[in-house]
Symmetry: C2
Subunit: 386 residues, 2 copies
């Protein structure tokens, strides 16, 4: 069978494959990107599901075909939350509910990217975004990250769109400052660049002050969000806020073709959760726990890698390690897996010239005692390679 | 904003837009493709959801990230059902769970269709399949349908794949005979054509004998199925059976990029439904009711359009009307909507040279008394145009 050209050269996501390691018994995994399952609001979902399905009116809405762009009450909840969090006025009629945030990336590639179009990404950036966009054969260019945003912006650019994760970035945990956001927005505006602002982690902040969405500074921004980290990934619900009716319409057509609409049942559950329970309190509980885990992972890694550069994020699920040159990361990973601990090497997070002495560590899915044990195992692995 | 070339020329699905009519108060709609919501197994879903979410072990599986290709027990149920229904041996490891059958169409286009590739479709065919494949810019060619399959097969063809709905086709309700299937399979095999066999309605048979899947006659077949018509569309669950590991792998990569995976929660509900209840009895109940509705719609339409050709399907959700030349279908629709009844003109179901005097009528979502009232309104509309 001759496959379509667009799939040639696309490899299975390294992270998805390494996730298989994480499911092996006795492995302590810093490799995946899973939220902590013990924090899922399971009882409340059970209550919501029961109420939806035992009321014939809502049961029919939950189980029948629905609108391609999503369940209106859920869109209204999303818009209202932006108003509360960021004082941002969002028109619910510009929101599209997607089957996870991943689908948003695919729809954006499908509607906006022609072969050879220049797409600007952070260096490093989220590998599943690279994978999703690669189907549409763009030319990637990179902006190097410092601790609070881009190091420098090029004088000249042909970029059509910029894909940015400004809060607690995956993989680095870096957050852009308001100043860097404003500066970047001005530059993007001058160069007529559409910003795709991906923000799945923004609400999971355990320290510092919430920064303003890039959208605040740049109208021509497609803003992405997700319920995967604040509620549960198994619902498969994310969203797109389109900057205008024209882009909304194009994305809606692509959404319709992609899967008609996202699950009505899980959309109704998410909406009911926000209507009946204190979502904010639930999110704060997650952030508090992740903050504790980040603290312990960060300090333990500092102990065993005293000369490494380790980011110290204010939120999200990941931190980033730049090892000293003498540590060969793939050898360390190999030994680590033998000792029963896993992490992700940094290489797949680069679109070109990867920095090979880097790695991403997840702290959301490992409890405090397992973090201590995991780092102890890592220390053993380290001793066997140096 | 300059959109990607692939979205230029794509229009919103006519059926999706006309569905908006169907939601207007007092309209009796034969236009949509909705299953009867009163037949959804709501109580059983409520029980399944409750059991899944109150058991911490299954709750975590339902709400966490899952495997890209789907929940293994659900794949095993699908494979087992093919064995029972068709004595077909399906390897569960070649199954991919999709976000509705619509996603399967998109993934097939994405992995298999290059711009200009020839794709063979029935004349007429399912309009959302046309729309999904159009994103990948194929060249469509058509095979004319008779009452039991293709009229004739071309001597020469450059087609790479053939998209076929052999059971109770949408839009015509036509079912291919075993003889026509075997003949077509031989022809496809000789011409090295991959068959895409879309079968969302096959289990909803109310008369006649189940025909063999095209896959029985042609190994190089991608077989598609859906839970939307036999359970509920709101779950957003369909599936692909890949013919071999190579195509499975390519489709898996596309699936991973498209939405990581389909909702774990709704996958667990579907699996639990099959494990705990008699799915076969449930499907028979649906088929029996739809059969009654088809009978009454067919006979009432015959009464008011005595010279029209009207298909009389053995299953599914649609029948097809070819009106006599003197009836102008768009004028009839306009009057019909004024009288409070809707149907879909046949035009959007053709990839070229549409037969303008045709229409599709859905009978699954209108009860018997509403069917009588709907056809009475249609008769009034008819009187005002002839």
């Amino acid at each position: 069978m001759e496959f379509a050209k667009r799939i040639q050269g696309i490899e299975s996501s390294f992270v998805r494959d390494i996730l298989k390691l994480a499911t092996q018994k006795d492995i302590i995994s810093f490799a995946g990107g899973l939220p902590e399952a013990n924090l899922f609001p399971t009882g409340r979902f059970a209550k919501a599901a029961q109420e939806i399905l035992t009321n014939p009116k809502t049961a029919k809405v939950a189980l029948q075909y629905g609108e391609s762009t999503g369940f209106t009450p859920l869109k209204e909840i999303i818009a209202k939350t932006y108003k509360i969090k960021d004082n941002l006025d969002i028109d619910p009629n510009l929101i599209i509910i997607t089957t996870g945030s991943q689908q948003a990336l695919d729809l954006i590639g499908k509607t906006l990217v022609n072969e050879g179009d220049e797409v600007l990404v952070e260096r490093p950036t989220y590998l599943a975004a690279i994978q999703a966009l690669q189907f549409y054969k763009p030319k990637f260019t990179e902006i190097e990250l410092s601790s609070n945003g881009p190091k420098t912006l090029p004088n000249k650019t042909k970029a059509k769109l910029a894909y940015i994760i400004p809060n607690f970035q995956n993989p680095t945990g870096i957050t852009w400052s308001n100043e860097k956001r404003e500066e970047f927005a001005k530059w993007a505006n001058k160069n007529n660049i559409l910003i795709v602002e991906d923000d799945p982690y923004g609400e999971i902040r355990f320290s510092g002050k919430r920064q303003k969405p890039l959208k605040t500074f740049h109208e021509n921004t497609v803003l992405l969000g997700s319920f995967s980290k604040i509620l549960a990934p198994g619902l498969r619900l994310g969203w797109i806020v389109a900057p205008n009716k024209e882009i909304f319409h194009a994305l809606s057509l692509a959404k319709q073709s992609a899967d008609l609409h996202s699950s009505q049942f899980t959309q109704l559950i998410a909406a009911k959760f926000y209507e009946d329970f204190d979502a904010q309190a639930h999110i704060e509980k997650i952030a508090k726990e992740y903050g504790k885990r980040k603290d312990i992972l960060h300090s333990k890694l500092k102990e065993i890698f005293p000369t490494a550069q380790i980011t110290n994020p204010d939120g999200g699920m990941f931190l980033w390690v730049r090892f000293p040159e003498e540590i060969e990361v793939l050898s360390l990973l190999k030994q680590a897996v033998d000792e029963g601990v896993a992490f992700v090497p940094g290489v797949p997070f680069y679109v070109s010239n990867p920095e090979k002495n880097t790695a991403r560590f997840n702290f959301s899915n490992t409890n405090e005692s397992a973090i201590c044990e995991g780092v102890a195992r890592l220390q053993k692995a380290l001793k066997s390679i140096v």
